[in-house]
């Protein structure tokens, strides 16, 4: 059930190669199709302002989805990322009186810590990550509300907001940072032994154990990375809006998982990658933005997203049935 599988094919003719490329990046084709459709429907779609808008919309869910991808590939899930966004956004704003550097570092440390704790409980206690991170999500959200109250905090240090407003042409600095982080995670997954071990763990955990891979360490590292990315998202969100509230990031974990799955990462692990997730994030952002431009009621948008997800997976299963039969 993958939409963006990277397949290593040894003896591919150029036609097969083309087919592989199309199959391996079908979610990017979907994004392009959406872009073409909406640019025909709305003259405003391809304006620099709107493009910049779409890209910025990508960033927040994108950061979470990129962090989530290695966790899912290793066969786990992290539902706590949305709550971490709320927590870290509040930390980075509330601690500004102690200095901006302290505030940012504290927020990052908080995200890292949550990720580490998630990973440690999952691995050392052997409890399913779904349960662990569900509890973490609920606990962190509650604690953030207890500490801050149901209010929003205004940023007192302008530097954060000013930084977020920097742009290279129509491209915001936040988008550039996001792209860089995505590239790093992508390279780690594809080209380092931590990345390859992550695939091995998700694909066949007992084989990974037998091969002497320190399975727990890799799984915990992925959770920590995921927490760190969630903290980055929280900081970026607070910077972008110049404010923070405990409710930040609510439901974002589900949007992130939607993007990861649409991007072809297998929820049982072992398969997937950052490129697919990135394409899915972009496709979903274009869809959202386009439907807004066409003045479709905002209540329809989640419905459409749900339909796209199901249809994409059904279609993908059809296309890959032959391959799956061979593989299993």
């Amino acid at each position: 059930m993958s939409l963006a599988t990277h397949r290593l094919q040894s003896s591919a003719t150029s036609f097969d190669g083309l087919k592989t490329i199309i199959r391996g990046n079908s979610v990017w084709l979907l994004a392009i199709a959406f872009a073409i459709f909406f640019s025909l429907q709305s003259a405003f779609f391809l304006t620099p302002f709107n493009i910049s808008n779409v890209l910025t919309q990508c960033v927040f869910v994108g950061l979470l989805a990129i962090g989530m991808t290695p966790v899912v590939i290793s066969g786990n899930i992290d539902l706590s990322v949305g709550a971490v966004v709320g927590l870290t956004a509040c930390i980075v704003v509330a601690l500004q009186p102690y200095g901006l550097g302290v505030a940012v570092l504290a927020a990052l440390a908080a995200g890292l810590l949550v990720g580490l704790v998630n990973g440690l409980i999952v691995e050392k206690m052997g409890i399913s990550s779904f349960i662990v991170t569900l509890a973490m999500m609920s606990g962190i959200r509650g604690l953030t509300f207890l500490a801050i109250g149901d209010i929003s905090l205004s940023s007192t240090d302008d530097r954060l907001n000013t930084f977020a407003m920097l742009a290279i042409g129509p491209i915001s600095i936040v988008v550039v940072l996001f792209a860089a982080l995505a590239a790093i995670v992508g390279v780690v997954l594809r080209f380092t032994s931590h990345g390859r071990n992550t695939y091995a763990i998700g694909g066949n955990r007992s084989a990974a154990v037998d091969a002497g891979i320190a399975v727990s360490r890799h799984v915990i590292a992925n959770f920590a990375l995921c927490g760190l990315m969630a903290a980055t998202c929280g900081i970026a969100m607070a910077a972008n809006l110049g404010a923070a509230a405990p409710s930040f990031g609510r439901d974002y974990e589900l949007l992130a998982i939607t993007a990861v799955v649409l991007g072809g990462t297998r929820l049982q692990g072992g398969k997937g990658g950052v490129a697919g997730t990135l394409g899915a994030v972009l496709a979903l952002a274009i869809l959202r933005n386009g439907l807004n431009l066409l003045r479709v009621s905002p209540f329809y948008i989640p419905v459409v997203v749900g339909l796209v997800l199901i249809m994409a997976l059904v279609l993908d299963r059809r296309v890959n049935r032959q391959a799956m039969r061979h593989g299993e």
């Binding site: 094919q9 380092t192 091995a200 066949n204 084989a207 154990v209 037998d210 002497g212 072992g270 593989g327």
Partner: protein
């Protein structure tokens, strides 16, 4: 392939050359909840020998191998490897000591490349932490070539056919210095040509002075490959024989160690009502043109090796698998599209893998028995608890089920008692035909005899029983009639009591050369 190699000189030579065994296994014991898997195993393994390990299912071979490969730790006993104590904590420890196990089930990560799988756990890295792909692929190509395999190191492991995946595993085992390689029923899923190439690999390993422990049920392979044979029975070593001095009958009798009482019932004539007639049943990739009948009170044995299509046939009759052909149920044509249809007719299936297919492991015995009988235990859609409890106790008593309480999770029961829960579940549906797929797999000897007794009682009460088994004594001892299956076809039919082991072996070896589905692998 049937020619028996009697290479006496070589086998003597190798044992004389290595007067000191490479691996000394002494008094190894291991118990699992409810089952004593090993109770005192002694083995000496020499460098450069192929040491075959025989034993019935449940004799403890797999447990012993897992202990050697670091998967589990023994309760008692000691192992010496090259004179030093050998106590691997995990598979990595074992591998570092040069001991590797080639698994019965494939253990590759399907989405990694062949090369990545070979060097999994020790991928070569460059200075910047990136994987050194060129070196990885070169090293993998070298490891594959050393084994004589022509496999692209960059191919995705999951895309390879099973036989080639096994080759990757062997290349992985031998890419590092190794002194003991354990093969656990390596040919179970291979075609003959594929097996031949495996044998060549084993020969090569032996020449490199590697000790090979070879587990198999197939006598011809054992006699062809091995230098010595050890027989395990009920968790103990029975004997170690020099292959050149042994014959199949001797090994068989050591494995079985007991004779099942052959009942005179096998002489019974079955003029009773036909329960099921199967004619021309085929299912792609599983079996072809299968026809047989079974009558009331009859035990029909279906003998064949693993992979012959027996379980698939059972699944087709039970509606779990699509098949073309005709089923006559008590003389009337029927179609069975899903298990519910089969249950409604009066067919029960005790599946091969009771933990995966037969039981809800976390639930109690009573819950499990209720599962297949909900309709008759319910009124207005609600379960009648008293009725359910009565049904459970009736069958628990009849089958002599030993469980602390009706709600004790079945996962904590011994294999034999678990199997009785599955039996109870199906017997409670009051079937006319009971299909038993490997009913005594993984249960210990005492429990086996009880299961046999139950099967006989059932047949005595008029139930038709289709007994699928790869354990020859079981089939011979219980069946009124036996059909043999090989490569998806029925290859023979025998009357119980008139047939011996030889006949069955011949029937499942016959017609071996024409209908090969898979192409030969060039090596």
């Amino acid at each position: 392939m049937l020619d028996r190699r009697v290479d006496e000189d070589r086998s003597r030579e190798c044992i004389a050359a290595a007067a000191e065994p490479l691996m000394r296994i002494r008094c190894i014991a291991k118990a699992f909840p409810g089952v004593r898997a090993l109770g005192g195993v002694n083995l000496d393994i020499f460098a450069g020998e192929v040491h075959a390990l025989c034993g019935e299912n449940g004799a403890g071979k797999s447990t012993l191998m897992k202990i050697l490969a670091g998967g589990i730790r023994p309760d008692e006993g000691e192992i010496l490897h090259s004179g030093a104590a050998y106590e691997p904590k995990n598979p990595r420890d074992a591998r570092n000591s040069g001991v590797v196990l080639i698994h019965q089930e494939m253990s590759l990560a399907p989405d990694l490349s062949v090369a990545e799988n070979i060097f999994l756990g020790s991928l070569p890295c460059k200075w910047n932490g990136m994987i050194d792909r060129r070196r990885l692929n070169d090293d993998a190509a070298r490891a594959l070539k050393a084994c004589g395999y022509d496999i692209d190191p960059a191919a995705r492991a999951g895309d390879l056919p099973i036989a080639r995946q096994q080759m990757v595993e062997i290349a992985r085992a031998t890419a590092f210095p190794c002194s003991v390689v354990i093969f656990d029923e390596p040919t179970a899923t291979l075609t003959e040509a594929e097996a031949e190439s495996l044998f060549r690999t084993i020969e090569r390993l032996r020449k490199n002075n590697v000790a090979i422990i070879y587990i198999s049920h197939k006598m011809k392979e054992i006699f062809r490959l091995s230098d010595r044979i050890s027989v395990l029975r009920d968790g103990e070593t029975q004997a170690t024989l020099r292959t050149a001095d042994a014959d199949e009958a001797q090994v068989m009798s050591l494995m079985i160690g007991r004779t099942l009482d052959r009942r005179p019932a096998s002489q019974r004539k079955f003029a009773g009502n036909q329960v099921l007639a199967v004619s021309g049943l085929s299912s792609p990739d599983a079996f072809e043109d299968v026809s047989f009948t079974i009558t009331e009170g009859e035990i029909l044995g279906l003998y064949g090796l693993v992979g012959a299509g027996r379980s698939e046939l059972a699944e087709a009759i039970f509606g779990l698998r699509q098949a073309n052909g005709a089923l006559l149920w008590q003389g009337r044509p029927v179609t069975v599209r899903r298990p519910r249809d089969a249950v409604a007719l009066g067919i029960g299936l005790v599946p091969q893998d009771r933990k995966k297919q037969g039981l809800v492991l976390g639930a109690g015995g009573r819950e499990n028995v209720i599962l297949a009988n909900l309709a008759k235990l319910s009124a207005w859609g609600l379960l009648r608890r008293a009725k359910a409890a009565a049904l459970y106790s009736e069958f628990a008593e009849r089958l002599r089920l030993r469980s602390a309480s009706p709600t004790t999770a079945v996962v904590t029961l011994s294999g034999g008692n678990q199997q009785k829960v599955v039996l109870a579940k199906w017997l409670a549906t009051d079937p006319r035909l009971l299909i038993l797929d490997e009913p005594t797999r993984g249960i210990d000897v005492g429990a086996k005899d009880e299961v046999y007794k139950i099967i006989r009682e059932l047949a005595g009460s008029g139930m038709a029983v289709l007994l699928i088994s790869s354990e020859m004594p079981e089939v011979l001892g219980l069946s009124d009639r036996i059909v043999t299956m090989h490569h998806g076809r029925l290859t023979g039919e025998f009357r119980g009591g008139e047939v011996g082991e030889e006949d069955l072996i011949r029937a499942v070896m016959s017609a071996d050369h024409d209908r090969r589905s898979k192409p030969a692998v060039a090596v």
